[in-house]
Amino acid sequence: MRRFSFFNASALTLGFAFLYLPIVLLIIFSFNESRLVTVWGGFSTKWYSAVFANKGFMDAAWVTVRVGLVSATLATILGTMAALVLVRAGRFPGKTLFSGMVYAPLVMPEVITGLSLLLLFVSLDFDRGFWTVILAHVTFSMCYSAVVISSRLVTFDMSLEEAAMDLGASRMATFFQITVPIILPSIVSAWLLSFTLSLDDLVIASFTSGPGATTLPMKIYSQVRLGVTPEINALSTILVVLVSTGVIAASLLTKRREVQRRREERAAVAGG
């Protein structure tokens, strides 16, 4: 066992401070009584009430949630299909290319994705707005859900599907009655991940959005250009809480499922 030295402790503190100090400051100042963002004037939750009373914020929030719900659902469906092909299809010509292309948007600079989508929508003469943001979000969050679901499918015991078919279930029935329920936790975490990705995207949404489809991050960004208000702090705090809840829930789901699966496997081997 390594000793927990002074050096380790300070490295850890510094690292975490670097990562989280700005967010912590933001959260603290969201409870500031004073109108001045950088001067502490006592504890208050009045900015939170102000956020909920602000129609502009609320409209943007509603757009963001709808975009998130629709794009996460579409991305999860497409991601599941891509993952099935990647894991199950065996070898086919162009498989490496296909898997590379599914994962490429993960590392593609957001500006590029946003710009190319913008060009596409313009050249197709597509009215930019609610649906273009959704399409854009589906394209990048689909790869994340494909990654999450394919990592589960790799460990999926194929004899379960064979058993279902052997008992008279068609391929379709097998997929919906056996495969989907068993990989459901990873599907849910893929959905949560896609939802949070959509929730906090600014760059791609800015490129692909149109009038009447301003998302919350876009709204915040435009407000900040006019000056940071404690209202923005409060709103950002709410977003931070939402996003981190989503991410933590997704990882917990995957992890808990993994632990349970290992325990079941151990029981299966030891049982007898």
């Binding site: 052997d166 008992l167 299966a268 007898g272």
Partner: protein
Amino acid sequence: MNGSPNSGSGCNFAPWSDPKEKPLIRFDAVTKKFGDFVAIDNLNLKIYEREFFALLGPSGCGKTTLMRMLAGFEQPTMGSIMMRQQHLTDIPPHRRPVNMMFQSYALFPHMSVEQNIAFGLKQEKRPKAEIKDRVEEMIALVQLQAFAKRKPHQLSGGQRQRVALARSLAKKPKLLLLDEPLGALDRKLREQTQFELMTIQEKLGTTFVIVTHDQEEAMTVASRIALMDQGKLVQVSTPREIYETPNSRYVADFLGDVNIIGGHILGPDDKEDDIVQLAWHEDYAPLRIRLPQPVSFPEKGTERWVAVRPEKVRITKEYPTDTHNILKGKVLDIAYTGNISTYHVETEDGQIIKSQEANLEHLHRRAITWDDEVYVHWRAGGCVLLER
């Protein structure tokens, strides 16, 4: 070790020897290749109704491939598989009247015991009441009444095995395939479960095909055993035949323990004309082997092998009388396994002969011990002559 002559489905059950009997399953010149690898090589086989048929062989011999072709998960590269008048090859797995019990059991983890058993019936959209009755019946058959609502991970290995069996029998298949069904169980439970399987098979009259690499298991449960090697059937016989009259050194050696001595045919015995003499060493008397009646005598000088099971070789200090084959040697090793002792005797020219004696009384002092000069001997009817 001895195969019970009554195993499978009763004493007089032998449809394979009745030419009027039509087989349930027929493999005609079936070949299965995976790339360049030949898993099944031009195989012909008939399996009859109500049989408990065992596919036995070392891993990689093709027995699992054969079973997966019956289930429909693999298609033969050449040849056909018939069930009665129907080409099985044309039917997808979910339409075949064949069910399979998987080695891993493949129980659906998100369903209870009841739901697992009901799964196949629900696919057929049978009436609810009928499904419920059938599930109850199956749960009673495998005695899991107290566990009906549990999920697979709340069951022991033995209980899971029963659920898997009940699930695969629920649809009353014409043919049940069992892929190493007892492989995950410990020895005691496995023996007990073998008898339960036989009881259930007799009760339902379903045809069972079991894949196993455990020869004792095959001998215990099966009405007939097919021993496979490298994609071919080496011998298909009842447990007793395959043990007592193997058709090759491979079979003799795979099933149980055996002494094999090679030699050349000398000719018939002077006194008994159904005994053949085999010259195996210039300094020793030829070995004498009784042949089964209908077999014609092999020509003088042909190479043959004699196989004799250790339990048929007696060991004495005195020179024996009233026997056919006697070899003199020295005790090299004694393996004591409680019920029996196995003596390894080395003859003067270095041949090792194994002899087994049942330990009829408590062993305080052995009559025969290490380095003793002994005679190992067996009767002409206790050994078989092998062509290959």
